[in-house]
């Protein structure tokens, strides 16, 4: 509840404590790829529990989409930071001291960096073969290519791409790159685990309680009912706390120690735990002289690092987002998820969408320039309208793209001169298929309690769900309480990702209320299921049961001498359907825009020979209150519309809006972030000063 956040009494996973718990630390590989020749733990003091690959050999491989991970390295490490051993001791300091007593001999092996190198013929293979996971997060027909570094390849084949380009009067092609970024939730990853006989109890900061339960059951070869996962509120996540992170190691340590074990990551370890996929995206688009789009061909390479995590899903979404919210009769997309010897990349606010919208929306402005058509006009002319089919074949409904785009254009005074101004537009899919269930209990005194597996990471989903329930019941929100996820109690929910929870739970709640009233009892259960999915070879089907929609506008100034870009104003217009909690909704937009601003201008994980070289908050900058440009936004509502999720929509359109604004100075940005060095290089290219 809100009061506990200001008073500081709220307890995060980092604060979880049980009697007799010990503290754990991880020993990580210093090499990007190496064979472990020997691990010597003989110098570790008595009274410290050490876990090595030897102890975890009998545990099963896991991974939410590809079963490529082991609890600790089994003779081979695949990235600098790969867990090699772990210790548990009475205090964190003792655990820290024990780590340096472990000696490991490595034989360094050749490593592969960068997705382009990893798909080149003869590239060293990060994994010999790729087994699709049994976890229900591997739901979409994953297509690994054994004998390569590609763990999933998604394709769209819509219309006739060659015939489409043959019809085009103008064709534009460009390749774009985006660097990796860190989530930097203020609360680091934290997990506490203990065993009661053969039952595992775990308290962990996670957006995915049921997926964590499933993978823990797989790891230890036990029934899911023997694993209980509780998820306290998180101090931020943004995708970082999804699927198995520390849970496997902590549970295995707790089993060996025979006591509760807790682990809280050091800030520096966050960069070795999960980051955002760097991407390389090539876009080729063809149009008629009058601006009508006729063909689009896109290839995406998503660098997933040494373990797939949900990279296949990210690559797929990157792929089906890349055509953009436009009517294009002929579309061809190849999107591959590629292994490299770097820390794993996974879900990150935007889920692949930021990367593909960067490429897609920058290309729209290149095309507009070539055609001599105003970029707003070109978008308005081609955007999807009610009843149009997307390149997946699905018919689109409840579209407000035109309103979003018009609002963004107006907010930055598009019609009063274009210099230094840019626009962008997106649709973003929501997890499909998915299932949500919720339990509504009448306490007997006019108050109600909700059990559901929606995790609270600051996004305000719990307040939104309570507010919606109170509205349906006609009571004050103070009389509706809600529990944090507990897999032993909460009814099943797919996961708290893809900005789906407020939308899905609004519908599940209506069902629960119906159930409660129909049965005249004190408990109502509501469940909703959205069916769908895409054929991974053709990209045809239902990509999303529900589409998030938004547009952004930017006004910038450019210093030609230094390459310094001054962002004067950012605006995002987001289709909200119906706003549930006004200020919380505003902060989802503002937070997304601020993160998008960081991504656009300076956030970048630097990796040299596989080593993250800026894994601290001094060298990796995130926006502070003093960095912000003027930011404004709209939450577009429509009478009678459903609730739309708002968690991510305003992030992806920010970088291309800024990039497109720079294009009005003749500066053609293709790489994110747009650091002064990169902007200077683009200025040199414009002015013919190429080295």
């Amino acid at each position: 509840m809100s009061g506990s956040r200001t008073s500081g009494t709220i307890k995060y996973a980092m604060d979880a404590a049980v009697d007799g718990m010990w503290h754990a630390r991880i020993l990580r590989s210093p090499f990007a790829h190496a064979r472990i020749k020997r691990i010597d733990v003989s110098l570790v003091p008595d009274g410290v529990v050490v876990l090595t690959g030897e102890d975890t050999r009998d545990l099963n491989h896991y991974g939410c989409q590809i079963a490529d991970e082991t609890v600790l390295a089994q003779g081979e490490v695949r990235f600098a930071g790969d867990p090699v051993a772990a210790v548990a001791a009475r205090t964190r300091r003792e655990a820290d001291e024990a780590l340096v007593c472990i000696e490991v001999d490595y034989e360094e092996l050749p490593a592969v960096f960068g997705a382009e190198a990893a798909v080149a013929p003869g590239a060293h293979l990060v994994h010999a073969q790729h087994n699709v996971s049994e976890n229900d997060a591997a739901y979409f027909g994953i297509r690994p290519i054994n004998g390569t570094n590609v763990c999933h390849k998604f394709q769209i084949r819509h219309g006739d791409i060659e015939a489409g380009f043959a019809e085009a009067d103008v064709i534009v092609e460009e390749t774009y790159r985006t660097d990796s970024a860190a989530h930097v939730p203020m609360e680091p990853h934290a997990t506490l685990a203990w065993w009661e006989g053969d039952r595992l109890e775990i308290i962990t900061g996670s957006q995915t309680p049921f997926n964590v339960r499933m993978d823990l059951a797989i790891i230890f070869g036990i029934d899911q009912e023997k694993v209980r996962v509780k998820c306290p509120p998180m101090g931020g996540s943004f995708g970082a706390k999804t699927f198995i992170r520390l849970e496997g190691i902590v549970a295995a340590l707790a089993r060996k120690a025979g006591r509760p074990v807790k682990m809280v990551l050091d800030r520096s370890e966050e960069w070795q735990t999960l980051n955002r996929h760097p991407a390389t995206i090539t876009v080729r688009i063809g149009a008629k002289k009058d601006g009508t789009l006729v063909a689009k061909k896109v290839t995406c390479l998503a660098d997933t690092g040494a373990y797939a995590d949900c990279g296949p899903g990210v690559a797929q979404k990157m792929g089906f987002a890349s055509p953009g919210p436009y009517r294009i009769p002929n579309v061809w997309v190849d999107s591959s998820c590629v292994y490299t010897n770097t820390p794993p990349n996974g879900a990150y606010r935007g889920y692949g969408q930021m990367q593909s919208i960067w490429a897609s929306e920058r290309t729209m402005d290149l095309l507009a320039d070539r055609l001599g058509i105003d970029p707003l006009t070109l978008r308005m002319q081609n955007l999807l309208r009610e009843g149009d089919a997307y390149c997946t074949g699905e018919v689109m409904h409840d579209l407000q793209l035109e309103q979003c785009l018009a609002a963004a254009a107006n907010a930055i005074g598009w019609h009063e001169g274009r210099k230094g101004k840019g626009l962008s537009l997106l649709i973003k899919g929501m997890q499909t298929p998915s299932r949500a269930s919720i339990m509504l209990k009448h306490n007997g005194n006019g108050s109600y309690h909700i059990e559901c597996a929606t995790a609270e990471m600051g996004q305000g989903a719990h307040l939104a769900i309570r507010t919606m329930a109170a509205g349906m019941l006609g009571i004050d929100v103070r009389h509706v309480s809600i529990s944090y996820p507990d897999t032993a109690i909460s009814p099943y929910d797919t996961r708290t990702t893809s900005s789906r929870s407020t939308h899905m739970m609004s519908r599940a709640l209506a069902e629960a209320l119906k159930d409660l009233r129909l049965n005249g009892i004190d408990v109502g259960i509501g469940e909703v299921r959205d069916e769908g999915g895409l054929n991974p070879d053709t990209g045809q089907g239902i990509a999303s049961s529900h589409w998030h929609q938004g547009a952004a506008g930017a006004i910038v100034e450019l210093d030609d001498e230094t390459g310094l870009v001054k962002v004067k104003h950012l605006h995002a217009s987001v289709y909200a359907g119906k706003v549930v909690v006004r200020k919380a909704a505003e902060m989802q937009n503002e937070g997304s825009m601020i993160m998008g601003f960081g991504t656009a201008m300076f956030e970048r994980i630097e990796i040299a020979d596989g080593q993250v070289t800026n894994a601290n908050l001094s060298d990796y900058s995130v926006p502070s209150i003093a960095d912000l440009p003027k930011m404004t936004h709209d939450l577009i509502e429509v009478e009678g519309a459903l609730v739309h999720g708002l968690g991510e929509t305003a992030l992806p359109p920010i970088p291309p809006a800024i990039g497109n604004a720079l294009q009005t100075f003749g500066v053609r940005m293709t790489t994110l972030p747009m650091t002064p060095e990169r902007v200077l290089a683009a200025i040199d290219l414009r002015d013919g000063r190429v080295a």
Partner: protein, 154 residues
């Protein structure tokens, strides 16, 4: 070694190693989980406490250095208008940075009762909020300034 200091108006003693930081003493010895700290280098601002009327990164101050000092955390803030302003402006999402943000704002308003936006930004630039509640935090700082001015005028 034993160190005694004043915490929210009460004398307390902790027994720590000489190299232990104040953050460790507050969180692990005195169980004040409102004091967070995650970067270890004084940059994230979540470990901020008030030491002798100065905002201080508790992750950088060795415990022996605060012997005899007067330390204030969110637990010592009472019914302060700054806390209420953060509630009224709904100036938080996950809440992890919030206690430190409130303490820093309170200290700013002691030193500068009517800060401009730029002055608010300068004072809070060392307190990161990854959820991005900065606009509402500015609102809260201004609400608090108004409330404090009204209170002192009354």
């Amino acid at each position: 070694m034993k160190t005694t200091f004043s915490l929210n108006g009460q004398q307390v003693s902790v027994d720590t190693d000489a190299g232990d930081m104040l953050l460790h003493a507050l969180r692990d010895e005195l169980h004040l989980t409102s004091v967070r700290g995650t970067c270890g280098i004084g940059l994230c601002g979540t470990c901020t406490v008030i030491v002798d009327d100065k905002t201080t990164a508790s992750c950088l101050i060795p415990v022996p250095m605060i012997a005899g000092a007067d330390i204030r955390t969110i637990e010592g803030i009472g019914n302060d208008p700054v806390l209420q302003a953060f509630e009224d402006a709904q100036a938080f999402q996950c809440g992890f940075c919030t206690p430190a943000m409130i303490l820093t704002t309170q200290q700013l308003l002691v030193e500068n009762p009517a800060p401009s936006d730029d002055e608010i930004d300068a004072a809070l630039a060392g307190n990161l909020c990854r959820c991005g509640c900065y606009f509402k935090i500015r609102d809260a700082a201004k609400l608090a300034a108004t409330a404090l001015a009204q209170r002192s005028g009354a």
